[in-house]
């Protein structure tokens, strides 16, 4: 099977994985751009509670 003009699946898979992994990185980073902030705040609060408990 010829994918992107390349016959060997070990090569076109590498090509596709490269693009997908870069896209994955973008999505991950963007999701954390906002989400991370809330998580941080929650964690911060949780930490304070633990400290008080001790």
């Amino acid at each position: 099977m010829l994918v992107l003009g390349i016959e060997d699946p070990q090569i076109w898979l590498a090509y596709v994985f490269c693009v997908l992994s870069a896209l994955g990185c973008m999505i991950y980073g963007v999701l954390n751009w906002k989400g991370g902030e809330e998580e941080q705040a929650v964690k911060s609060g949780a930490q304070r509670t633990t400290v008080q408990d001790q």
Partner: protein, 551 residues
Amino acid sequence: MAVSTSTLILFVIIYLTATFYVAYLGYKKNSQTEGYMLAGRGVHPAIMALSYGAAFISTSAIIGFGGVAASLGMGLLWLVFMNIFFGIFIAFVIFGPPTRRMGLNLGAITYPEFIGKRFQSKFIQGFSGLLIGIFMPLYAASVIIGAGRFLETTLGVNYNIALIIFTIIIASYVLKGGLLSVMYVDAMQAVLMLLGMGFLLVFTYSKLGGVVEAHQALTSMASLVPQALVDQGHRGWTSMPALGSPIWWTMFSTIIMGVGIGVLAQPQLAVRFMTVKDDRSLKRAVAIGGPFILMMAGVAYLVGALSNVYFFKTTGMIALQVVKDGNTDLIMPTFLNHSMPEMFVALFMLSLLSAAMSTAAAQFHTMGTAIGYDVYQQSIMKGKSTATVHVTRLGIAFTILVAVVLAYILPISIIARATAMFMGLCTAAFLPLFIGALFWKRTTKAGATASLVIGSLSSLFWLTFVHAKEAVPLGICQAIFGKATLLSGTWTVVDPILIATPLSLLALVVISLMTPQFSPEFLKKAFRLRFEDEEEVSESASHKAVESTGV
């Protein structure tokens, strides 16, 4: 096509002015040691990601490995995938946050100091500082060579003069401005690199008739692979080499595993995790780091492999036959100069200069701090000397000199090899103990020391006495034992990384389990989680200094 001198001079003047201005902005913010060494620990995630990427991708990747792709084919794309997955995602999301927190908890400002303090060992700090100080100049030399070769082919400048000018320019802002200057300049250069590589990708594909057409043309050229390469397992530029053949081993062990995974243990990159304010910054940086690597390494290897199609169409020869002595380091520069419009060659020259400068700057800073701070001040002077920045500057100046001398004496086609060799050494020496430091509390001082020493010595032993690519040119094995390599057959193409890293890991685990672990108090301190409000207090000193300069 040569670029007209006046165009080029104009480009270079604008470029250098911008570089020095940005470096100056960084310099103004640096007011104390932590600023010079760690950029004040408050760097924006975008700057961090671009700086990490620009330091990571150098002329080694673009010219050296691009040339290797022209010779070995598109199998190198696996390396791009490894670079993105391990070099960015795993590095930023898994390794970055604990490195940042632990660095702050222990008050470490360099990579050797980080592992030294984590394992409460001045020996570990001194030994790793020495390892970096001795072997990083080799990697730095290969970067300088890449820049020198490109300037030589593009500007027609004498190669030796090109080397010197290039080095002086970088040395000036690294010495003066410290890490923040370096990172600011990196980020600016990264943007230029993105522009250059983006244009290169579009131009190459359009010149060859489109994505599918270009790949197909390359596929149909499989019969043109030189017999010498076919005998070693080459099956065409769009096929993986034959499984288990010498080329397959080179590609798999040295390039993909060595450079792909080795990047996790690179001191000049790991230190950048300690420059950002919080964990969130590291996660955000992934969004920029991943696509950046794709556009750099991915485009370089694709274009490198596709240059065969261009050369065949225009000259009837494959890339390896076009360049003098089959020197793969010359393939990318020759391709650019032959195929691209003049303005683009000028733009691309700046992109490549940027790639080389940013990597060299990071290397100069890391090897200089290793020798000046970790080896001299902390290990030899036992921390008594207080002139940290001053001593570090001397260390930087000294190691740069060593790199330049090496650049003059290293043989041809060395760029990719020297890079892979350094990364392999770092992987064997540092990766197991770095993982232990971050994720395995049971790791002991003795375990870490054994891992560091065994990893680095076995790696050096393998490349001096067994791995033919280094052992033969070095000639040490020949001189001592009267034969080129101690072992024969497939062993001589297995990269040191595959032998030394497992040994280093084994030493770490076995010796750690046999020796007493660190006190719970120390581990609690080292592994303490940090949150924004706390960090503001603990970092107030460095932040105040940064803010007061008001840039």
